[in-house]
Symmetry: C3
């Protein structure tokens, strides 16, 4: 079975690692938004588990993994405690956190695609749901924290495209019956490296053509270069 | 069976048409919010498919139609591409887009009611879920785009009430065993025309009585006329 | 069976009471946000039924109770009508509304824990889902009304902690096979009293240590006292 690609303990360790780094980004946003320790914990849980929760509801895998695996549930609380006591130190290593977040992105887009396919979705939808698994937690985090989702903003480095590449690679590997431990790790690595390059060189996606003409009266236009 | 009212191909064409016009409104909001092309695509997908996704999760129809039908998934991407390349032209025909959106509203409130009833919900709940199918995508769109949902604002023309009339008509037709192609199209048409009239004559719903007395200290009160 | 703790009619009356007070808080926020009567009704429904809806989707109890019980659905509409016609009077008794809301919090955290356990979740997850049942509606209300969720804000009196204590008590009682009508009402009462005390003495949760050092450049820091 596809989800048996890895030995259970290896798979679980990879999941926990991804959950941990996503939870760090949630707890840090909680600090920046001036939330209390409980708000930090909620953002950490939502960021780390929200994408997988959405995927499990869509494929009908209830109760979702987030509500059956204690490790999944407790890891974000550990991340919250670390940020709570050490956040100046954590902020100082934001770059490191971003690298871990990129690793989580790579792992989740591949794992999400494989799990969705294993529950009977077509390949296009499995890849889409893999993408949603990887980016969904961050969108929920931003909505709860009352921010414009950074996924949607044009002035942020590419985030969804690397995940899209990774989940598409995983779907193609399934299609050609070539998915194994090495190739799935390769897909995750490609997404990871693409995200690192996007951050390093500030790759961005284009906005609609001829924006200016249509939004002359739009105050948000002020600092846009069309 | 109720969902066999129309021949599958007719039903599918109507669904695709509704999805397309809703997706246009999502992609256009993405342009106005200065999102990149990927953010536009996310808003288009969410606006077009969000209401039906919510309905399918509630009635337990997983995986939802949005994740099993390629046409449903690809149509919003086509709408995104059109808006991306041609949005000044699309903006110029905003009125036409609003007419299409009203048509989508009418089709979705009836289709949602019929599908919910077919999955065993009572008539009141089927009508409620039909309403949610029609307006849910727009609410999700506004939440993700970090706007006050226009569904809730008093200074917008009636949107939910036409959908409510359409889904109630559909529920009554089911109750009296009179639902067929003609009567269900009539329900959709009534919702469609009511929405057009609401836009033409700026029909609005009332706010709470005696608002002023209770909100004297409310800064949002400034431009309200109580 | 656990969910048969109370006679059905007693259980149902308690549920309706909790739904009613939560709906009042939703409709009142609708008035403050200047929404029309339909927006008030949406906020009332979402606040009262959102937490339970989330719980039912997670445990796979579809269609959720909110879509099968007419009393659950109609109660928020009654609350909306009361607020619509009488809101200056309702505002004047805000303190009373807060007391009712605290009662709803106590009832929902215990009822949610018991229902989640009855559907096969582990005790930790049952307690977490009980907490989510109690606070989830308020979070959805704030997100839809375009506010920072008051659950997450450090400058609000403790809300989640009382619910957490109540649901943890219920989980421990299940664990030691001591859950009955008296002990479950006791759990709800403890959560209720803790919430009242939190409001009376303005108990708050701490924010991250050394906040200032890390957020010197953060404009949101202006009115924070680190």
């Amino acid at each position: 079975m596809l989800t048996d690609l890895f030995s259970p303990s290896v798979q679980h360790s990879l999941d926990i690692a991804g959950i941990f780094v996503f939870a760090m980004s949630g707890a840090l946003l909680g600090v920046r938004k001036n939330f209390d320790v409980f708000g930090m914990a909620v953002l950490a849980e939502v960021t780390a588990l929200g994408g997988g929760l959405f995927r499990d509801l869509i494929i009908g895998a209830v109760p979702p993994a987030a509500f059956t695996d204690l490790g999944y549930f407790l890891t974000p609380l550990v991340a919250t405690a670390i940020v709570f006591f050490l956040h100046p130190e954590v902020e100082r290593i934001t770059k490191a956190v971003n690298v871990f977040d990129a690793a989580g992105l790579g792992l989740f887009c591949v794992a999400g695609t494989v799990k969705a396919y294993g529950h009977g979705l077509g390949l296009t939808f499995a890849a889409t749901l893999g993408l949603a698994t990887a980016v969904g937690g961050g969108v929920l985090r931003d909505v709860l924290a009352h921010e414009v989702p950074s996924l949607l903003r044009w002035d942020r480095d590419l985030y969804a495209v690397p995940a899209m590449v990774g989940s598409t690679m995983a779907a193609l590997l399934i299609r050609y019956d070539a998915l194994n431990v090495s190739t799935s790790m390769l897909s995750a690595a490609v997404a990871f490296v693409l995200r690192l390059l996007a951050m390093r060189y500030h790759w961005r996606a284009p906005r609609a053509w001829h924006r200016r003409s249509a939004t002359a009266g739009d105050p948000a236009q002020g600092n846009a270069q069309g």
